[in-house]
């Protein structure tokens, strides 16, 4: 009995009404930011270099059917994404815009593993969650044009879902930093920071070893704990200030991470008190919010179920690596989709040999004949991509050869260790298959 009562209060709390303002501000900020990010992507010429120029794409397992469109098609996709982000920001045809944006963004991310970034994955998820939330029900064109009814409150879970996703990103990023390389060797920051000695003001410190250690420990503590302080009403403003300082610092030190720091700074505003958001958009809902719980419709029940399912998967996904033997940093089996950021200075160099089993003739392949610089670089350190490329070579050569064999010699260094062979060079990769099963030909499995 007690159990059930507890559950109802917990559920009750989540379905209690709260101000819609944080959700509305989030919607506007997210839309503007996505517009800027998409525009930046296009103007850097990346649509061309990442989706038009390459002749081969590293698809995700199970998503081999995802193919890039023609150049015009890809630019149209990005154009529609920009349009949708404006619609999201202004709140016009919001649901449709959010769904189209989510689908297109995710489609683009699924084209090639080479481009996988945790923050792209994060945007996909946030866009997905936004599809489910009534973020257009105030301060929007939908309301102004009578396409949606104004409300001043939403169930608490609508806001909580966004907060929880943010919290999970920080928390999992934090616990992934609890590893010997990061905490005991200050790696890879010990390699990366001294390279930034030219940065004004702080640059002079960055060559100091203790600074690398300090960054590592502070970074870990920040990631693990910041969400708890963001959730706490008394500490939220201080926590948010720390969020801003932290991400601005990473933006200065690692310009290569692109929009990520700004995305986090903007998204973290979802934790700020509702009154702050209300003042921003000039609505007042705190009075009517009180404790009035509205009866949940079947639609919101379905939404809630979907969210619970999503977060359950999110909670276990980062731990799936435990199902595989060997050192995660080498094998990368279960590495993606787990909020592991900046953990490795990993450099690889892979030589492929194709052998005609019938004649015994063998040649070393010029990887660049098939791959872009970026593709070759990413492939060289990741076993599943090495296998994919080997399979591609098999396919290319299979046209003329009866039985092409493909062998890969991959040398990899991680966090300052001596380079070593990543996979077994004697295994014919043409005969191996991709999948979720353990890839036995990855070396560095025995010595965990």
């Amino acid at each position: 009995m007690l159990q059930i009562q507890k559950n109802t209060t917990w559920l009750g709390k989540l379905s209690a009404q709260t101000s819609i303002a944080p959700l509305v501000v989030f919607r506007i900020a997210f839309g503007i930011m996505m517009f800027a990010a998409t525009l930046r992507f296009v103007s850097k010429g990346w649509v061309d270099t990442l989706f038009v120029q390459p002749s081969y794409f590293f698809t995700f397992y199970g998503f081999e059917w995802i193919k890039p469109l023609s150049a015009n098609g890809m630019y149209t996709v990005f154009g529609i994404m920009m349009l949708c982000s404006i619609l999201i920001a202004t709140g016009l045809l919001y649901r449709v815009a959010a769904i189209v944006f989510f689908l297109l963004f995710t489609y683009v991310e699924l084209i090639d593993k080479t481009n996988y970034l945790n923050h792209y994955y994060f945007i996909s998820i946030m866009a997905g969650i936004l599809c489910l939330l009534p973020a257009n029900k105030a301060f929007s064109l939908d309301v102004k044009l009578g396409l949606a009814k104004t409300v001043t409150t939403v169930p608490t879970w609508a806001i909580f879902a966004l907060q929880l996703q943010m919290a999970m990103v920080y928390f999992f990023a934090g616990i992934s930093k609890i590893n010997p390389d990061w905490l005991l060797n200050a790696m890879p920051l010990r390699i990366w920071l001294p390279a930034k000695a030219d940065v004004p003001i702080i640059g002079a410190w960055l060559t100091e070893q203790w600074v690398a250690y300090a960054f590592c420990w502070i970074g870990m503590l920040f990631d693990v704990f910041v969400a708890f302080f963001l959730f706490n009403k008394r500490t939220v403003w201080y926590a948010y200030a720390v969020v801003v300082v932290f991400h601005v610092l990473t933006a200065i030190l690692f310009p290569g991470i692109g929009m990520f720091p700004f995305i986090m700074i903007v998204c973290a505003t979802i934790f700020l008190p509702a009154v702050f958001h209300e003042r921003l958009i000039g609505i007042s809902a705190t009075a009517s919010a009180s404790s009035a719980t509205t009866k949940a419709s079947w639609l919101s029940q379905a939404t809630l179920t979907l969210l619970v399912l999503h977060f359950s998967i999110q909670a276990v996904l980062p731990f799936r690596y435990m199902l595989y033997p060997g050192k995660l940093f080498y094998t990368e089996q279960g590495y993606r989709f787990s909020w592991r950021v900046m953990l490795m200075e990993k450099v690889g160099y892979t030589i492929f040999n194709v052998r005609d089993a019938a004649t015994g003739k063998s040649v070393e392949v010029n990887n660049r004949q098939f791959l872009s610089l970026q593709q070759e670089k990413q492939m060289s350190t990741q076993p599943d991509m090495i296998l994919q490329f080997a399979q591609h070579l098999k396919e290319v050569c299979g046209k003329e050869m009866q039985n092409p064999e493909v062998y890969a010699e991959a040398y990899v260094t991680i966090n300052g260790r001596s380079s070593r062979l990543l996979i077994d060079p004697k295994v014919n990769l043409a005969a191996e298959q991709d999948g979720f099963a353990n890839k036995k030909w990855i070396l560095a499995q025995a010595d965990k």
């Binding site: 200075e345 690889g348 040649v363 003329e400």
Partner: protein, 356 residues
């Protein structure tokens, strides 16, 4: 008010941190290393190449004016010297020496060369002619047939066009060489000032260049010779061809290139990448990476010397020696391209993308 108090605490902390900012300290002095490398390795190499290229031009002009067995021999000698001198500058892909690598694109396109000579109208700057100029083109013009036949070709039939083509190819080489030598002398200070390891920094570019050269030695200089390396066309495997295949200089050229690379790595007698790696205590299999790489250079050079004849001939008689050389060059390439670049935090083959 409360917020204001907290802001002032933050400000004070920031000021305090700024106040105790450490002096420019024990970090490795990149500028000194770069100055040394420029002064004692890169600039002299370019000057030597420029001198050798002028000598080549002189001998080429002499030959064109009076083709004879003797003037041909002198021209060939000047070619061998200039080609070896070129090996000392091929590594550098910096602004002042852009285009230098275009002087050694092989295999040379013999059909294009013959057509250029026949028509007498061509533009060596055109992309179409990238394989019809530079040292590989001269290698073909002077060595592809026996001395008597070669000499004859410069005396009869289309002799005027052939002489003109030789002159134009040689002039192209000497112009590139002298332009690069002059430009590097001016570029030296800018080069030394571009510290850091980011894209565009001198260290970043040098490490990329060293990786490029080591890879070229392994893949194209020795791998091609062994028939290990090839390309795939409509599903079939094709081998690439050997460097300096007509003049049989491939072994000498490899050794010249490796010696220069080692000099660059060690900064000659002064500060170089070995000292840089030592200063950050980079390790390789329990020993300092700095000495491991120096040793590997020596091993590779020794293995190259151990091949008794030029690679073209060694393929038949001394293939095992070639295979050993290939393996040692692979080791060297891995150390430079993977270990050294990673330890120094240099991105190899930078392409403009976000990371995380």
């Amino acid at each position: 008010m409360k917020q204001l108090k907290h802001i002032s605490v933050f400000a004070l902390l920031a000021l305090a941190l700024y106040g105790c900012k450490p002096e420019k300290k024990d970090s490795y002095n990149q500028e000194a290393m770069l100055t040394n490398i420029a002064t004692n390795v890169i600039v002299p190499a370019h000057q030597q190449f420029s001198t050798a290229a002028q000598a080549l031009k002189q001998k080429s002009d002499a030959f064109s004016n009076a083709p004879s067995t003797q003037s041909l021999d002198e021209l060939k000698a000047a070619f061998v010297t200039a080609y070896a001198a070129y090996m000392a500058v091929e590594t550098y892909d910096f602004n002042p020496s852009l285009g230098v690598r275009n002087l050694n694109v092989f295999a040379t396109d013999t059909a294009q060369i013959n057509s250029n000579i026949a028509t007498g109208s061509y533009n060596l700057e055109a992309a179409l002619n990238i394989r019809a100029k530079g040292f590989p083109a001269i290698d073909y013009l002077l060595y592809s047939q026996d001395a008597g036949t070669t000499l004859n070709a410069f005396l009869v039939n289309n002799a005027a066009n052939r002489k003109q083509y030789l002159t134009d190819v040689v002039n192209d080489i000497s112009t590139v060489a002298s332009t690069a030598a002059t430009a590097w002398a001016d570029y030296k200070s800018q080069f030394a000032a571009a510290t850091g390891t980011d894209v565009g920094s001198s260290v970043g570019m040098l490490v990329n260049d060293v990786a490029f050269s080591a890879e070229r030695c392994r893949r194209e200089r020795v791998g091609n010779a062994l028939g290990y390396v090839g390309f795939i066309s409509s599903g079939s495997l094709y081998p690439y061809s050997l460097e300096a295949s007509y003049s049989t200089q491939s072994k000498a050229l490899l050794i010249a290139n490796l010696q220069q690379l080692k000099a660059l790595y060690e900064g000659g007698a002064g500060e170089g990448f070995d000292d840089y790696l030592a200063s950050i205590n980079a390790e390789y299999d329990g020993q300092p990476l700095s000495t491991a790489i120096s040793t590997q250079f020596d091993v590779a050079i020794a293995k190259a010397n151990a091949v008794p004849v030029d690679f073209a001939a060694a393929l038949n008689s001394n293939k095992p020696a070639m295979e050993e050389l290939f393996l040692e060059l692979k080791k060297l390439t891995v150390m430079l391209k993977v270990d050294m670049s990673s330890q120094l935090g240099v991105v190899i083959n930078y392409s403009d993308n976000d990371g995380d």
